[in-house]
Every structure is written in C-alpha cells, then in structure tokens.
Symmetry: C2
Subunit: 258 residues, 2 copies
C-alpha cells in the first residue's frame, strides 16, 4: 500500500524530504514483514509507489536505506534527549526516556527491526560506521546531561558520566530486546529500573529524592525546543494509546520513520 500523500501545497525541498520519508517508511514496512535481507529494492519501489529511478535518486542501495534508518532513529532519540536537557529531576527524566523507548518499540516488529539494524551494523561496514557515529553523538549528549545534573548537585558527583551514559544506553537497548520477547511484563520491570537508577544516581552526599511523592506526574517537557522541521506524517497503523502519553512520547512517535 502506497503512503498517502499530504494534501497541503509543498515547496520542491519539502517534496524531496517527503519522498525520502515515504521511501524510508515503505522500506520499514517491507523489512518488518520479511526482514532486511529478504526484501528487494523492487519490493520497496512497489510499496512506495515509485519507479526505481526515483528511489535510487535518494538511496543507491538497501544498505543506504538501513543506514539512513539507523541515523534517523538516533537523531530522533537525540531530539528527545534535548527536551530533557535542562531537567531539574534527572531520575524522573530518565524514567520518561525509558518509557518513551518502551512505547516506541512496543510493537514486536519495531523491536525486531531495530535489533536487525544492530546486527547488520556489526557485519556491514557502511551501516556500522553510521551507527557508530550516531551512537557516539548520543552517548556524548547523554554524558553531557549527566554532567549538568552533577554540577547542579542532583546526582552523585563521583560518577563517571561517560561510562554511565554508555551503561544507560546498553540498558535501554536491552530493554527493547527484552520487551519484544516478554511484552506482558513491561511495567513491573520498568518500575524496578526506575528504582534502580534512583538508588544508583543518588549520592550519599546529595540528599536522595524521597521514594514516594513526585513520581506520579511526569516531568513536563519544555515547549521551547520544537523538533526540527520534521514533516507531519500520517502514521498508519497508528499504535493504540492505552495510557495518556507524555509530550516526549508523542514526539518520538511522530518523528518515527520506520
């Protein structure tokens, strides 16, 4: 099924961006259904409703498509991170990020595609290089956020921020895989994760946040940092929202390309 075209008038640049997004979304559908290696460029062309010439103008190969997906996923995650950069409650912000990831990859097919992208990146140099660069930027951004919280006395100042950022990233990756295999248990596990992070980040010298209170309401996402000129997509199939979403969660899903 071809992507529904937007009805609002678009500039040539907007049209180009939109086509790129359409191709990525259609490729994502194909990959989720039959896997990266079993999908041909022709199937992607059929799915998006464009000829090979039009598709190859944007992406010269399947590798280029999967590399672009990996990059876009992390870029979107960085935008999420930037929304929380000035948080006054880091454990709460990390909790919101955890839930944003959990919801982003709640569909088994999305978790599977992300896992497949990681596996591909370990074998395929082009995809691997893109992932490594994107990951370095992500981990550095997260470490920066931790350092800011340290300077403000919010968390243990003795913590190695860079290693902690790497560990957090590892744990989030693991939760994505785990959730795909045991979808029925996420909330109990996520609550434990929050609790573990709280105990970990709190220092003996900093007064630890109270165990209860303050946890019922998610930290409000600052309105200032609007996502950068991302085309508004018709997300189909739209995931069923069973709980009200935080602003951060909504943003991550709207930005999703795969």
């Amino acid at each position: 099924m071809a992507i529904r075209k937007s009805k609002t008038p678009q500039s040539p640049t907007q049209r180009a961006d939109q086509k790129r997004v359409d191709i990525l979304k259609s490729a994502g559908k194909c990959f989720r259904k039959t896997g990266f290696h079993q999908t041909s460029m022709q199937e992607i062309c059929t799915e998006v409703g464009l000829g090979p010439g039009a598709v190859y103008r944007y992406f010269t190969s399947k590798d280029a498509i999967i590399a672009a997906m990996a990059e876009d996923e992390r870029r979107q995650a960085r935008t999420l991170l930037s929304e929380f950069h000035d948080t006054e409650d880091l454990p709460q912000a990390l909790s919101a990020i955890t839930r944003a990831f959990a919801r982003r990859y709640a569909a088994i097919s999305d978790a599977g595609l992300m896992t497949e992208i990681y596996a591909e990146g370990l074998r395929n140099k082009r995809v691997g290089a893109v992932i490594k660069t994107a990951e370095t930027e992500w981990v550095d951004g997260l470490a920066d956020m931790l350092r800011t919280a340290q300077e403000r006395g919010q968390i243990d100042q003795a913590l190695d921020a860079q290693a902690a950022a790497l560990l957090l990233t590892a744990m989030w990756d693991g939760i994505v895989i785990r959730q795909a295999y045991t979808p029925e248990l996420p909330e109990a596990m996520l609550a434990l994760f929050d609790d573990m992070l709280k105990r970990w980040l709190a220092s003996a010298s900093v007064s630890a946040a109270p165990a209860g209170g303050k946890r019922t309401k998610p930290a409000p996402a600052p309105k200032a940092a609007a996502p950068v000129a991302e085309p508004q997509l018709d997300l189909s199939p739209a995931p069923v929202a069973e709980k009200p979403l935080t602003q951060a969660e909504i943003d991550l899903r709207q930005m999703s390309l795969i």
Copy 2:
C-alpha cells in the same frame, strides 16, 4: 576448513553428538562471516566437510540450526547460573556472570550472531518459540536464585524477584550489544554496573555488604555441580586470555557452540 576430529575412541552416541556439535560450530563460522540469511546449507556442508545427507539427518533446515544455537546458548548460560546457585555473595556472583557474558561475546562476530539470532526470533516463529521457552527457563532460574538470596537475607526482601530477573537479563543483553559497538570501554562500564547492582540489591534492613574487601577474590564455583556430559571441544581459534579467568568464565567458553 573442516573441524578437527577427536582422536579418542567414541561410542556411536558420542559420535552423533560430536557431529551435531561440528555442524553447529561450522554453521556458526559461516553465519558470523556472511550472516544467517546469506549462508546456504551447501556452504555449511562444505565448511563442516559432510554431505547434505549427513547434515540433514541432524538439522532439516537453517532455521533448525539457528534454533539449536539459541537453545544451546541459553542452556550453557543456565549451567553457569547453576554453579552460582548456592553463592553466599549474590552481588559478587552477578558480577562474575556479567563478566562471563562479556568475555563470551567479546568477539564482535559473536555479539553480532547473538543479536542476529534475537532479531530472527522476533520474525521466525520456530526460532522465536525456542528462544521464548529457553528464556523463560533462564529467567525463572535467575528469579529462583534471587529468592534464595532473599530468604538468606542477602538482598532486599521486598524486591520482585521475577521482574528483577527479567531486568537483569535485559541489561545483560544490552551490554552484549553495546560491547560490540564500543569494545574499548567495557571495564569502566562493567564496574559501574556492579556498583549499580550492589546499591539496588542491598536493602535498608539488610546490612549492606562493605564497599571494599571481599571483592578481590571471585566467589569459588562449587565443584559439585559438574556440567552435564558436555563433549570436550577443540576450541579454535582459542581466545587469548589476558587475565586469569574464573571457573565460570572458563566453563562458558568451553561449552560454547557458536
């Protein structure tokens, strides 16, 4: 290159077991090199030095091979777990398990193959069913270990052992992926992970283990629970041991089939 045959006389059952192991190891080599989907059964036959008839007697398809790999990996991990079941220092045991996993998947190609198996399990029903069963057994075993530690007053008795076991598994999975992408940073990250688990598992009511002391020496692996009739494999290429390995680490590597 065909697997070197053992020179000691073997019973027919031992020979059958050995052939199964040879096929799995050869398939693992092929998968690591070119990926699961790009490897043909014929390439596996060539690698192991057996005809298609002999290989198909053990495995009717590539799916059956990858399902067997997934199952064997988790079975080996469960054997590791059983060695620590009666530990008197759970955080130390978890630390040893973390390092056993880190060493097991220190080679990028091994981490990549494990990630690919996970991705395949999310799409392929046969592989997925095997992984789900094996994972359930693993998580239940880990939860049981946590409950024993709770009964002995070693860790926080209020902890939800089942959810904690799932979370630990998620984090270990994530560390495998992360290490593959950032091999230069494992020890700082693993040390942080140990510290985080210690703080998490310690209860206010239980006297927390002292921060120093007791950590220099790994918990001795009980000699009683010998691994079940595992064929002794000629591991080539043998990974270079830079540090002395704990008993648990040695066992996991000897048992490795992929």
